[in-house]
Each structure stands twice: as C-alpha cells, then as structure tokens.
Amino acid sequence: MLITGHREIADNIFELKLQGDMAAEVSQPGQFVHIRVSGSDSITPLLRRPISICSVDKKEKELTLIYRRSGLGTERMARAEKGSRLDALGPLGHGFPVPQEDAGSALIVGGGVGVPPLYGLSRELVKKGFRVTHVLGFRSAKDVFYEQEFATLGQTIILTEDGTSGQKGLVTDVLDGLNYEAAFACGPLPMLKAVKNKVTGRPLYISLEQRMGCGIGACLACVVRASDTNDGKGYRRVCCDGPVFKAEEVELC
C-alpha cells in the first residue's frame, strides 16, 4: 500500500496512513494488518508485524494505523517515508461487533498502544447512535495521543500512571461510577484482566495480543485457551478467531 502520511504523534508513537484497495475490505473495527517491514528482498526482520487498523476512510481508500516504535521491526517501520510502499496483508481477523440495533451506551477502555483500534470502534458506535464513554490509560503525558479525537466523540477520561496528564492512576480506578450497557477493551493483559473483573453483568469484548507466525490461522502460534472446558476445540487463534473475543470466551493468562 502507498504511504500517504507518517508522523510522530507522541513519544515514539507514530501515525501511519496507508492507501490501497484493502481499505474497501475492512468490515469491522479492531481488525489488523500484517506488515512485512523488510521489503521483498531482505530476510531481516523475517516475520510480519501485526498492527491494528485504527480507522478507515473508505472514500479515500485510506487506513490509519498507530504504532509504538519498540523493537527491530517497528524501528524499521518508523523509517518508511511518505510516498513509498509498504507490503501489508489484510484486513485480518475478527474485530469488535458493532450492534446493529438497540443503540445505547458503551464504555471503551484502552491502555497504551491498545488505544488505536478503539478510535475506529468509537466512531462506528457514535455513527449508530451510541453514547460512548472513553477511559484511556497511558504511562505519562508524553505517551498520550488522540485525546482530542476521542473527545469529539464522547466523554473522555485520560489517566496517566504518574499523573502528568489527566488523572493519576489506572483505568480500573474510575470504572465503578460509570453507566454503560456494553464494554470494549484493548490494552496490556493485566489491564484486560482487571477490566474483566470490574465489568460484570454486561457484555465485554476484549482485543488480545499474541506473537504470530502466519497471521491467517495456519501455524497455531497465536492460540489462547477457550474458557469452556467442554469446548470442542479447546482453543482460539488470536489472528483469525480474534483478536477480539467475548471476555468469557477465552482464558486470560
């Protein structure tokens, strides 16, 4: 896909815009693309990198991704220039289900680079008439991104671990007083576990991360255990059965 935009929007956090026919195939917020960072003639890094689709603009055929520069692959990715091409496979996986009727109120909980796919989700929910509350956690003020973008969609509570932006604390500190009928979360595993404990009696959808090989369901690198011990298969593949699951469907460990 053609890189139509690429900029650093927070400390080591990049917003990447990709244009191509794939945009038309995106069916749900929370799907991801599998990016070959190395280019076709290099074997380093060998494997593709999974990155969530943050939002899609079907008219412009454009995807927006947001990623953190951390290791070898994202380091390379950060050097890709506007106007060049990136080999992206997708859209992959099953994302967040957006209820078709019964618009109501939704809670969105995100942590760090788990936040990006929730932006596309919130846009879809708001379009369907939902009232959306966002609770977004970051480490520090320099890590915060898309605060304004979320704020235009609904109430947005920002938390940082050190209190340098928004409230000081963790996302789970503020969930108790909130009203909502369904919840959606993406972020580090400890956060997802804590959110699962707080959100009871209402549907909760979570997006998981797992190291991947193929990204399309063939290698079984990315499995998680199914919660139901009588489940026929006993496992789910994050890449194609997920990355989004109903919280009670899978074991979080």
């Binding site: 060998l46 090989g213 399309i216 369901g217 063939a218 290698c219 499995v223 298969k233 496992y235």
Partner: protein, 312 residues
C-alpha cells in the same frame, strides 16, 4: 518440465508446503487454488488430540524463527473426518505427517491415515524437537529410527517418507538406517533446536524455552545434509529448510533433492508456493534445462561435458 514422480506421488511440480506451516490447507485455500501445488504435507497428526505448548510459541531470529507449537492437532480421527474430505476436492496429492510419543501411537496413526484414499503418502515425523517425550530418541538413534520405520512400513498402505532431524552428528547413518528398514523416501530437514533469551526479562522468549529453528538461516545446514545423504541412499529426498524463491529450489535439486517443501516462507509471503511454481520454468530455461529431474544431484554427479557454448 516440472513433473516429478516419486513413490506414491505423481506430482505436476515438485513444490509443496511443509508440514505445520500450512495446517490442513483451508486458510491458504482462501487465497489461491491449492490444485496449483505439487502436493500438500499436512500438519502432524497424533493418535489423540493435542493442545500443544503454552505461548509464546514463536520467536524471531536473524533470518529465521524458532517455534515450539508442540504438535497441536485435533487427533487422527478428526483429521480424517473433518479435514481430509475437504482436501479431496482439490487435484493435489496429500502427504500425512505422523507423530507420536510411543511406537504404538505411530503405528496406529499410520495405519489409520494410510487407509484413507485422500492420503497418497506418509511422512514419518521422527524429528520434532518440541515434545517432551518420544520425539527425540526416534530421531537420533539409528536403530530406534529403523525399528519404528519397519513397524510403520508393516502397517502402512501407502509409501512412507521418513523426516530426519538435523540435530544429530551423523545424518548419513540415520538415513541409511531408515532406508535399510524400508523407507520409500526421506524428508529433510526438520528444525534445528535453538533458544532465544529476552534481554528485558532475562529469560527464554519461548514458554517452552527451546524451539525449532527454521527459515533462511538453516538453508546451508540443510543443503549440506541433502548433499551428503543423497550420495549414500537410493531413495528420493524431499528437501526443505529456508526455501524462499525459485533459486533456492534449484539449489536443493543440485544438492540431491527430488522435490522440495516450503515452510516458514509461507508466513512471510502467503503466495510464495504458487509464485515459485510460476517462476521455475524461466529459471530452468536460463539454465538450458528442459526437465527439472536432470538437476538432481548435479553438484556431486561426475561432470558430463556439454558442448563448449554452455561454458561461456
């Protein structure tokens, strides 16, 4: 030009996805017509279902990857009832990869799968580094490998290819032992045992600690082994390890392979198998080769002088 005939396998071309890297074909079948492939080696089958190892199950390495999937599979019966019927719709021979912890598991699994009409050959996986029990002895002790091969041959209705482990000091001794025990062919190589340690946690990256190394990084090891073994055995070799493009396929043929399998490269480019199949004829033309079988073992066969023009 690309047709290859091996025991039990009439292949329209010599390129097949390697076991464990293609599951049972359903996922890649959504991307392209599986009938283009020479054959498909399906994911290892064990007698009973297996869940496999905890995650992380994969780790990247320079030019390669480690995996410790742990032979996760739904068990032979489910593979027969749920996966094989779907594969029958394609015009492509299926090779069933078989694993176990005890000789009796292997024998029972081999019997079941070889009786299925969709399965055209067995690949006996005596080399999986990722299971705690069994696996390793079968793949490293020539006498044990030979005994297992003979037992499986005795019950199998289809030709048996034995998949060798590179984690041995003398690969030729292993190959000769299983050939003498009746193997119809060899597959080589399986993954090399390896490890990565995370600098942050200071612990192995893989939950299983060790895993099998695959990808371009292992190709020279595999080429050397195919080169050595092909000179000592009469049975054909399916070569694998690090194949990424048509040139790599030709290198394997030159080393002594009669067909090839592609694993890790499917993860990097899901279309790699059909792409290579499409590129091979041009590559062969450039080498003035009209039949890919002519290349088998050319790196060690006594030089047949060609006319001077080919020496340009």
């Amino acid at each position: 030009m690309l047709e290859v005939h091996l025991p039990g396998l009439d292949l329209k071309n010599p390129v097949m996805p390697a076991s464990g890297c293609f599951a049972f074909g359903a996922e890649y079948g959504r991307l392209y017509d599986l009938s283009k492939l020479g054959a498909i080696i399906i994911k290892a089958a064990t007698l009973e279902p297996r869940f496999g190892n905890p995650t992380p199950r994969v780790a990247e390495t320079p030019g390669g990857m480690l995996n410790a999937i742990g032979l996760q599979n739904p068990g032979a019966d489910k593979i027969i009832s749920q996966e094989l019927p779907r594969l029958a719709d394609y015009d492509v021979p299926i090779i069933a990869n078989i694993a176990g912890s005890e000789m009796s598991d292997y024998v029972a699994t081999a019997k079941k799968l070889s009786e299925n009409p969709v399965v055209k050959a067995l690949e006996l996986n005596i080399s999986c580094p990722n299971v705690k029990h069994g696996g390793i002895m079968f793949g490293t002790v020539p006498e044990v490998a030979a005994e297992l091969t003979a037992k499986v041959k005795a019950v199998s209705k289809k030709p048996v290819y034995v998949k060798l482990s590179p984690n041995v000091t003398d690969i030729v001794a292993m190959a000769e032992a299983v050939e003498a025990a009746g193997a119809d062919g060899l597959s080589m190589i399986n993954t090399l045992l390896g490890m990565r340690i995370d600098l942050k946690t200071q612990k192995p990256v893989l939950a299983n600690k060790t895993g099998g190394l695959s990808g371009p990084a292992i190709k020279p090891v595999a080429i050397r082994m195919v080169y050595e073994v092909s000179q000592k055995v009469k049975i054909p070799i399916i070569g694998m390890g690090g194949i990424q493009n048509a040139d790599d396929v030709i290198e394997y043929f030159l080393a002594g392979a009669s067909a090839v399998a592609i694993g890790t490269a499917n993860f990097v480019d899901p279309f790699v198998c059909p792409k290579i199949i499409e590129q091979l004829p041009k590559k062969l033309e450039a080498l003035h080769v009209t039949d890919i079988n002519e290349l088998v073992g050319r790196s060690w066969r006594p030089c047949v002088k060609k006319n001077a023009s080919s020496l340009r």
